[in-house]
């Protein structure tokens, strides 16, 4: 039908769910996956197996696509720039994406833009860390400037002694104040090359051990003032950084207001609820944005939407009993939406998510949590 071809680098669940959205748009997502058993490679028709750190693999992949986008931030910036120099259409572009790839670059740029961020400093020595702790209090949060995800690459250290190993590891580190926060929020928006942007309601995210376990949309009890502030901030960042596609801005809500924690420039875990919870899902919106289509409506389809991540359980039975548990969960809650990523079950690994839609926040949260906990453990909450 003469419709464009979109390539996504990375074969994880974000590609998998983007492929779902692509199907409705008449497209077939092409995926550059590490292996044929990757989450998206199991369901997409056009799969290249190759490395996202190989210029040859990236170039061969990109040349068949009108636009190339990403399900992770791990393609090295110099390769992105080389692809762009060849005239290939990479969205978001390397100049924007670096702010989701490098926490030092992001922190410095946001500070320069006047955006509130936690106090931070690049630390390379014990003395610098000691000074930072003395100035901003202990514990201190140390983050690898690049490569971290899901709590990996983050260390909360109570003293310099605590940080000896990580300081000696050769990893470039950003130290940040351990912010006393009330809760975490996320403002998710999308922006097209044309410059159109659209925001979903601000959500609350609940983390455990550095992993997002629950997202509540809209964030309960958030004042209109803070909600508008968070959305405006995300829209401003999308424009200032030249983001194309989905931008997720992870925020700390503190007594002093909002601080930016992290940026992601792709469909994001804090937006999975939009599949059923919004008239346009983040996956469809990401495709519209990178293809420079006008963006879709972000209206909610229910008063409250709660997504709970499904993490792999720890017992051997947890890895083999999923189908039986699905039967029982479907019977108990016929309106719960279960998403499975086709990934091998390993303890703590994100293998899917469940979404509940409802009127009452407490009840909807309980339904989502019950679903995710039961699928993980095989036990109903007491």
């Amino acid at each position: 039908m003469g419709l464009p071809v979109v390539g996504m680098v990375g074969g994880g669940q974000l590609s998998r769910m983007t492929h779902q959205a692509a199907i409705a748009m008449g497209l077939s997502l092409r995926v550059l996956a590490d292996a044929t058993h990757d989450s998206a490679a199991l369901v997409a028709q056009g799969v290249n197996v190759g490395s996202h750190t190989s210029l040859d693999d990236l170039t061969a992949f990109a040349q068949g696509c009108e636009v190339v986008t990403f399900d992770h931030e791990h393609v090295p910036g110099d390769l992105l720039r080389q692809l762009e120099a060849k005239g290939l259409n990479i969205q978001p572009g390397s100049a924007a994406l670096v702010h989701a790839q490098d926490k030092q670059v992001m922190r410095e740029r946001l500070r320069d833009l006047g955006v509130a961020v936690p106090p931070f400093a690049v630390v390379t020595t014990a003395e610098e860390l000691s000074d930072f702790g003395a100035a901003h209090g202990w514990p201190v949060v140390l983050k690898a400037a690049t490569g971290g995800y899901d709590g990996k690459g983050v260390w909360i250290v109570a003293s310099v002694a605590d940080a000896v190993d990580v300081l000696g590891s050769g990893v470039r580190l950003v130290a940040e104040q351990f912010v006393p926060l009330k809760r975490e929020l996320a403002a998710v928006v999308a922006r097209s090359p044309y410059g159109q942007a659209a925001a979903w309601p601000v959500v609350q995210t609940v983390q455990q051990d550095g992993i997002c376990v629950e997202v509540i949309a809209p964030a309960p009890g958030l004042s209109t003032k803070l909600a508008i502030q968070a959305q405006s901030l995300a829209l401003k960042l999308a424009a200032d950084l030249g983001v194309v596609g989905v931008l997720a801005v992870e925020l700390f809500e503190t007594d002093e207001g909002l601080l930016v924690n992290e940026l992601a420039m792709r469909p994001h875990n804090s937006g999975h609820w939009t599949i059923e919870g919004s008239r346009t899902s983040q996956f469809e919106q990401h495709l519209r944005a990178v293809l420079d289509y006008p963006l879709g409506a972000t209206t909610l389809t229910a008063r409250t939407v709660v997504m709970a991540n499904l993490l792999g359980g720890v017992s051997p039975e947890d890895a083999t009993d999923l189908d039986r548990r699905l039967h029982l969960l479907y019977a108990r809650d016929p309106a719960l939406k279960v998403h499975l990523y086709g990934k091998e079950i390993r303890p703590g690994r994100k293998i899917g998510h469940v979404t509940a839609l409802g009127e009452d926040v407490g009840e909807t949260r309980a339904r989502a949590r019950t679903g995710a906990d039961y699928l993980r453990s095989g036990k109903w909450p007491s």
Copy 2:
């Protein structure tokens, strides 16, 4: 993850949309397609190219699947019975499916079950047709007992002279009264092997030249009595005929009540609105049913949902201008949901559909029609 493998015979848009639903369920639909450019073959990972009339192709395909289901009714019944005799799990089974494959068998069975159907008779000669017309009035509707779809295999004849060609064609024919109807409705339900069943609200379907062009959910102004009667009828037929999966019952609403027109035992055009319009789409529900999972909630997500089929336009430009039209349509109506099937554009061919959700029936219909008409013709309604 130890989840079952589902195979679907036929590579059309119904398989394509079922694959979308399968992705969320952690599954990857396997498709038996006629060709690699079939609608579903463009987007699914596991595609067998083969013939649905070849026992060898069907057997090879089915042996890799926990259950085999269908996106059309064209697999010959004797092949289905041979597959069943091999112990393969075919859903719906041949004994149910014959009622969607053979209009004579269907009419006779429904009559025996006491279900209201239009007056009908098998006609093989001009004399039999003449007698039928004399008894039930002209015009008479002649239907090929097997193989018809989208108005193909249906002839409305004003006299015996009109029917000379079709009577001489060797096609087995069922004659039916040309029923004076108020409108057409459809009752779509699903049933699992366990015997659980679920119904969506009864919809109104609008046909042009024998092709469904619009579906309105719920059917506007339908009395509660008739709605319940239609749903009960569909649920009873699903149980009596032993249907597994989605059953669509096409109905005539007449001054004397409801008459059954056709049956389909698969996801059906009259249920496409459920993708966004119901908490559980007909595609997810069909998968749940054939896998004997408990069924999902059929709650609506909006007061009114209207689906308009997108038919291929007639001018050469219609086949090349779709992407530009999509840009303009997305800009005009950001909440409209467009589904494209990846099919080559030919005049009158179903190449996609659009769904509008809203409060007011008239306004929602206008949005859906505007979207479908514009994508087809490149002209906004005046």
